[in-house]
């Protein structure tokens, strides 16, 4: 009986392998077919984005201006995921009540945290000038929050960065993203419009340029940072709620 079970298992594995390989092969073939099509000429993203949006970073121009609505949608996906995780995980999963790292590490990190803080801040505020932006900077900020939790333990980290600050930050940032978008509706241009609403463009290449793009970067940065770090804290759990 055991032997027939093993054989049927082997056959199933073989079939699954063949299925997966043929699926992968057909996908590669499809991608080759699609990329083999004649390239469509640039729609104007590269040529016009500086004039259109005031941002010298084309990627940011697309993310925050041409397709800002998708960014709002994706930010809402993070927002909802955080809420869902919090709703499901009412019980703590992992907890680090007290610091587990040695005093040397803790002191060293304590001095380094302000320095670490500069990087995400730069990435967020210079999103329209150099690679980066709200999403990337926000993730780096969240990593800093996670770092404090890992190094200093849950209790101290929660005292320094209260959970309510994170949730409030996330809610307010989400709300202001939506409301900022309405500016375009009131000026009659369209939701999430940027320069067309009449906000000053600034001189492309300078910190204060790109119309609303830096503001959106800041909002998305706060939202992503707050969202991802509260996601971590929910997964880590609160020891005081431990059974």
């Amino acid at each position: 009986m055991n032997q027939s079970y093993d054989t049927s298992k082997k056959i199933r594995h073989l079939l699954a392998g063949i299925f997966t390989l043929s699926l992968g092969a057909s996908l590669i073939w499809l991608i080759l077919e699609a990329t083999g099509m004649p390239l469509t000429p640039d729609l104007g993203y590269v040529m016009n984005s500086v004039g259109d949006t005031g941002s010298i970073n084309v990627v940011t121009a697309i993310l925050m201006d041409y397709r800002g609505f998708d960014t709002l949608g994706e930010a809402s996906v993070i927002f909802t995921s955080v809420a869902v995780t919090a709703a499901i995980l009412a019980e703590p999963v992992f907890t680090l009540e007290r610091p587990i790292l040695s005093i040397i590490t803790r002191r060293a990190i304590a001095y380094l945290v302000p320095v670490f803080f500069m990087f995400p801040l730069y990435v967020i505020t210079h999103g329209h000038l150099s690679p980066g932006g709200g999403f990337q900077g926000g993730v780096s900020l969240a990593v800093l929050v996670i770092l404090t939790h890992v190094v200093f333990g849950h209790n101290l980290a929660m005292k320094k960065i209260p959970f309510s600050l994170l949730t409030m930050g996330e809610y307010w940032a989400a709300l202001s993203f939506g409301i900022l978008g309405l500016l375009g509706i009131f000026t009659g241009v369209g939701f999430l419009a940027n320069l067309a609403t009449g906000v000053p463009r600034g001189i492309p290449g300078q910190l204060l340029s790109g119309g609303l793009i830096p503001v959106l970067n800041l909002i998305v940065g706060i939202k992503v940072a707050a969202g991802l770090s509260s996601l971590y804290i929910t997964l880590e759990g609160n020891p005081r709620r431990k059974k």
């Binding site: 949608g73 809420a83 869902v84 369209g190």
Partner: protein, 501 residues
């Protein structure tokens, strides 16, 4: 100035953010605020529908960009119907919860998730951009998990996880489809793709078609990819399950039809796929109903019945596509829309009235369900509607779909499905009749009053089934208009690309 369709997407989204904040600061205010905002969305959608039906489709250009480089939305005669349906669904869902829970304190984050869910469904209906469609589908996936998973129900988390895996596969397939379309045509706008797609080699085209069909099929329960639905609806609780099946499933079907007719240009590119869809729909009917027949759980049975009814709608669309934009073709698709409307009403009614049966029995096993006489009455009316007994809307819609079929096979299968569903609803009725719970005298805490109140919304919905049955001659012309807008991709392209240089 015309009403901007984007407001219909933004209102529920901002509502969700606002409600999270209000729930944190003054939780008691949240339910009434949610209802107010939901009614506001409903008013907006009514205004938009009126505007579209009087003055024609309205396009919205996000950020004011040309649809070739930016994102655009289009509210046409077809999409406003779905927007109306979804906003009614959200409002009725909130009224239903308020009817048994009052307005004081609602635990959990249902308010936030239902708002996000509404936003995503409306977005799926209105968007004229393929990647934007993907974003809204992702958003609805996450919101769906929120609606079905609750910490006090471990099964909900398991179902949520199963759904997450299914949705990840579905999302990956959709994204692959979008990437293939984008790299082949150089655009994400459905209108532009519709113009460019004719240059694609057949192999690539069929690959893309398969990606979209499988991906969206997983979402609306195309057999055999419907297996997650019984578990999900079982876990979700009656209130949430009604949102998922009565309204969510319709939005996925609608998005699927839009993708087939506009960007993929199925009628001219691969008309042979329409008969396949009809056959697939028939398989859904047979498999959904027979699996329902042997099902012992009330919510799982209703989930399988949804699989079957998705099949009816698919059959209607398949027939419509095979016949093209002729009177018969338009009639077939309008019949499918009519079936969507009917199914939304009855399924929400059955699930919401079922909540009181389940509550009184403390179980969802059919054999032990208990009902009050009024509850049984509502169940019978809704069941007549879903089986398709005259004069309910279900009879009209099934008759319309069957009469569109030129061959006898679909008629026989639709008839057979009706008989099977009659058998299982009759079985539930007989159990409910024998296990009538005596209407208890009002308890001091008012629980039985609340249980009685909870029958209000399902009762109204069940009456609605009768109403649409009688007024099918008034509703059908509107739906024919909608079907026309869905099948006429030329007008769609003109309205998206025409207003801008």
């Amino acid at each position: 100035m015309r009403l901007d369709p984007v407001l219909l997407v933004v209102t529920p989204l901002i509502s969700a953010f606002l409600l999270s904040l209000v729930k944190k600061l003054t939780p008691r205010l949240a339910p009434s605020l949610a209802l107010g905002l939901s009614v506001f969305t409903l008013v907006l959608s009514t205004l938009l529908a009126k505007e579209v039906y009087i003055n024609g489709p309205v396009a919205s250009y996000l950020g004011g960009w040309n649809p070739r480089i930016g994102i655009s939305l289009l509210a046409d005669q077809a999409s406003v119907l779905l927007v109306l349906l979804v906003s009614w669904g959200q409002t009725l869902g909130l009224v239903f919860i308020a009817s048994y829970r009052g307005f004081t304190h609602w635990p959990g984050k249902y308010l936030v998730f239902s708002s996000i869910f509404t936003c995503s469904l409306i977005g799926m209906a209105l968007t004229a951009d393929l990647f934007n469609l993907f974003v809204f589908i992702e958003l609805s996936t996450v919101a769906t998990i929120g609606i079905m998973a609750k910490p006090d129900r471990p099964l909900g988390s398991v179902a949520g996880f199963v759904y997450l895996i299914v949705a990840s596969v579905s999302g990956s397939l959709l994204l692959i489809g979008v990437v293939l379309v984008y790299s082949a045509t150089g655009s994400l706008s459905m209108a532009v793709i519709a113009q460019e797609i004719h240059a694609l080699p057949p192999g690539l085209y069929w690959g893309i078609l398969l990606c979209f069909t499988l991906s969206l099929g997983m979402k609306f329960g195309l057999v055999p990819m419907h297996f997650w639905q019984p578990w999900a609806y079982h876990a979700a609780g009656c209130t949430g399950a009604a949102l998922l099946t009565a309204f969510g499933m319709k939005a996925y079907l609608f998005a699927f039809f839009r993708v087939l007719w506009v960007p993929l240009q199925l009628p001219s590119m691969a008309p042979v796929f329409f008969p396949v869809l009809t056959l697939w729909g028939l398989a859904n009917i047979i498999l959904g109903h027979t699996m329902g027949l042997i099902q012992k759980d009330y919510k799982k049975l209703l989930a399988l019945s949804s699989t079957a009814h998705g099949g009816y709608i698919l059959v209607a669309a398949g027939l419509a596509g095979s016949m093209g934009t002729t009177t018969a073709g338009l009639f077939a698709l309008a019949a499918g829309f009519f079936h969507m409307l009917n199914h939304s009403l009855v399924k929400a009614s059955l699930l919401w009235v079922g909540r009181s049966f389940l509550k009184q029995a403390s179980s969802s096993t059919i054999d032990v369900l208990k009902a009050s006489p009024l509850g049984t009455g509502i169940f019978v009316l809704a069941a007549l509607g879903i089986v398709g007994i005259p004069p309910t809307g279900g009879f009209a819609s099934k008759l319309f779909i069957a009469s569109s079929a030129g061959t006898p096979a679909p008629v026989i299968i639709i008839g057979l499905g009706t008989l099977i569903s009659l058998a299982y609803y009759l079985r539930i009725y007989l159990i409910l009749r024998d296990q009538t719970s005596t209407p208890s005298i009002v308890k001091s805490n008012g629980t039985s009053v609340r249980e009685l109140n909870s029958l209000f919304v399902p009762g109204i919905l069940a009456m609605g089934v009768l109403f649409i049955g009688f007024s099918s001659s008034i509703i059908m012309p509107v739906l024919l208009n909608g079907a026309g807008a869905m099948m006429d991709s030329g007008t769609y392209i003109l309205h998206v690309l025409g207003d801008l240089p």
